[in-house]
Symmetry: C2
Subunit: 398 residues, 2 copies
């Protein structure tokens, strides 16, 4: 995946907890459950792990706990191994940032087996605290302190998209309908039920034009991914998925300073770099998990990734081109919308879903013959975007 | 520095802001000032940077701002370059974790020029918030929520050290006296004045046996380091310092579960790995910055690093063996004690001091003929330790 000197990096195990309102499970239990699931999936034992990267975007603020890398290591009973454990944060994209940071650690040759984990406890807190934790990925001085929350900022983006491209309220709703249809088949989803365009459009207004069912709910959850270099991965003799590219790009934090608010410049740059490194194009991708934190975000994401031209994702979604039997299956897991959005876990849950798809293990959600997948994570309103291209490996032991 | 495949990594520029109560300077101004100083020192222009890692341990909690990687990039006017920017956190060792993560990114071949920055605003907040922000690097469920703060936990470690090794109250004070003597010559230090054993021992009690002058003060400040691969570093034609080793290790978070509370197991493991990779021993090190967040921490740090045998650091400090003319100069900058402790910035300020020493640019603090240096960062009570071994490069353009 990497530059001229880096080693290829493979995903050899994935695991997630259920996502949802998990009031009876603590943060440390969640991250341990996900980590153990990934470790078991990889067929390794804990002491074989060389390093850990742990993503969380809100634990310092909502739970008063930092130093989560070691917390996770400790709870898993691995502190006696004394391996390095570091927390990684990039707002809503924290999980994807942990995955990429872990991949670079393997590529560097410093570590052979690295776990990237992510966790968030978002539900058993005051609603205002939750809202401001989400807003802390935007620009607090310019936006948050002026009262702009993430739904408010995305509502402006949606209005601008409607003005510029003629996107309709009903087309936004169609994104939620599609993702809930997918998510209804995902046993780990927080909201595994189908919905209708009428139900989405009739749900309580959050920030015009976005209603409650246009917004991904912050939930509790954890996910983890085990990475290894090629030699180690082959020794494990289990299914392997190659990280063909791991690209991250940034943009100005505050919306008012963007050239355009109907596209994610950070996604465009990350996708361009990722496709360049992987040597593939959007048309080669069979399955993708796209950051649908709001319905408008999936449309902007698809257009910024280059899957559709600007203004064409809405019609494509209506026509079924982003679901089974279409051009590419987008958010087979149900996306942030139906699976739920557990900030630090989300980017890693996206990777887990794509890995299951590429291994042919996605059960009722399986995209037939999926060989190339993509994950797309966004922080805040697009200050960060991270794109991973994942590739099935023939004869990888599966 | 790295494994079998990684590239060597060099520090080509460093910069820090003054440390102190900087009420008139915002977090984003601090990190930009430090970043610009490091970029100017490296003789590069901003657009040459390929990626940024930014450390902060408390901004999410104290300022309500996450996504600091992009915030720093944005404030520096570099968001239009769309390069990746990620926040890294490992409690008090966050700055050192950012440095190591950035080094791995260069070693991986993915990026040629990477900036590691760190920043903290600790002073214009409520004292209780500050105390709990520090405690969030310990175990909140087992320690913080039971009322144990960092000074309280270190006081227990100090008492145990006194019981086990006969360390005296006056010997603890001597660490502060030595570091203030060094720091008096550091124009960036928050507390650049000398003090006496009597003054330290007579200062107000914080947690017996530790008094106010045994504790490093949380301050505002920022620091940054520019890293490059060898070919790029040589092209820049400025002074180069090689990262001979970058090792990180962990331990259980909560004190009551440690085998011993008079030594940092995480430091022992990180130091062992670092000396192994660098192919040197403690006796080869001319200058080191050690994590003296409390006076007892420097003694435990020196013993855990292997500079002195367990129980011998106190007497060695009294005899002047850790100052100019002794075995090794420890904390020529004044350490956390006299420079001040700006969590996310501290590990990078340590690196900056050692780089200046190895380049012969440390002015009144210069350790004559320094060729090999070390930095030692600890998070919380020792849940994480990070050791960097830095080596002067002959003919590096300086």
């Amino acid at each position: 995946m990497m530059g001229p000197n880096g080693r290829d990096v493979y995903i050899v195990g994935v695991g997630t907890t259920p996502f949802g309102e998990l009031w009876e499970v603590s943060l440390r239990e969640l991250i341990t459950d996900a980590g153990l699931a990934a470790v078991n999936d990889a067929g390794i034992r804990g002491p074989m792990i060389d390093a850990m990267y742990v993503a969380s975007a809100s634990a310092g603020r909502l739970l008063g706990q930092q130093h989560l890398g070691v917390l996770a290591l400790d709870e898993a009973g691995l502190a006696s191994e004394h391996i390095p454990a570091t927390q990684v944060e990039a707002g809503d994209a924290s999980g994807a940032a942990a995955l990429r940071t872990a991949a670079l650690a393997v590529a560097s040759g410093q570590h052979d087996i690295v776990v990237a984990g992510g966790v968030e406890k978002m539900t058993d807190v005051l609603e205002g605290d939750q809202t401001m934790a989400l807003a802390s990925s935007a620009d607090m001085e310019w936006e948050g302190f002026a009262g702009a929350t993430l739904p408010g900022l995305y509502a402006m983006m949606a209005r601008a998209h409607m003005m510029e491209h003629g996107t309709t309220r009903g087309q936004l709703a169609q994104v939620a309908v599609k993702n809930h249809k997918h998510g209804a088949k995902n046993p780990s989803a927080a909201y595994p039920f189908e919905t209708s365009k009428e139900a989405v459009m009739g749900s309580p207004a959050v920030a015009d034009p976005l209603c409650m069912f246009d917004c991904a709910s912050p939930v509790d959850g954890a996910a983890a991914v085990v990475l290894a270099d090629e030699a180690t991965a082959r020794d494990l003799n289990g299914p392997m998925v190659r990280i063909a590219a791991a690209s991250q790009a940034s943009d100005v934090l505050a919306l008012h300073r963007r050239e355009s608010i109907t596209t994610f410049a950070s996604t465009r740059h990350a996708a361009h770099a990722a496709f360049d490194v992987a040597g593939v194009g959007t048309e080669d991708v069979d399955v993708m998990e796209v950051h649908d934190v709001y319905t408008i975000a999936e449309l902007m994401g698809l257009e910024s990734l280059g899957v559709f031209k600007p203004g064409e994702a809405a019609t494509a979604t209506e026509k079924g081109r982003t679901s089974y039997g279409g051009d590419v299956v987008v958010n087979p897991s149900g996306g942030l919308k139906a699976r739920g959005h557990a900030l630090g876990a989300t980017g890693l849950a996206q990777a887990a879903e794509v890995v299951w798809q590429l291994r042919g293990e996605a059960e009722d959600r399986q995209v037939e013959g999926a060989r190339l997948g993509l994950t797309h994570a966004v922080a805040g309103t697009g200050g960060t975007s991270i794109v991973h291209v994942l590739e099935a490996v023939e004869g990888g032991g599966s």
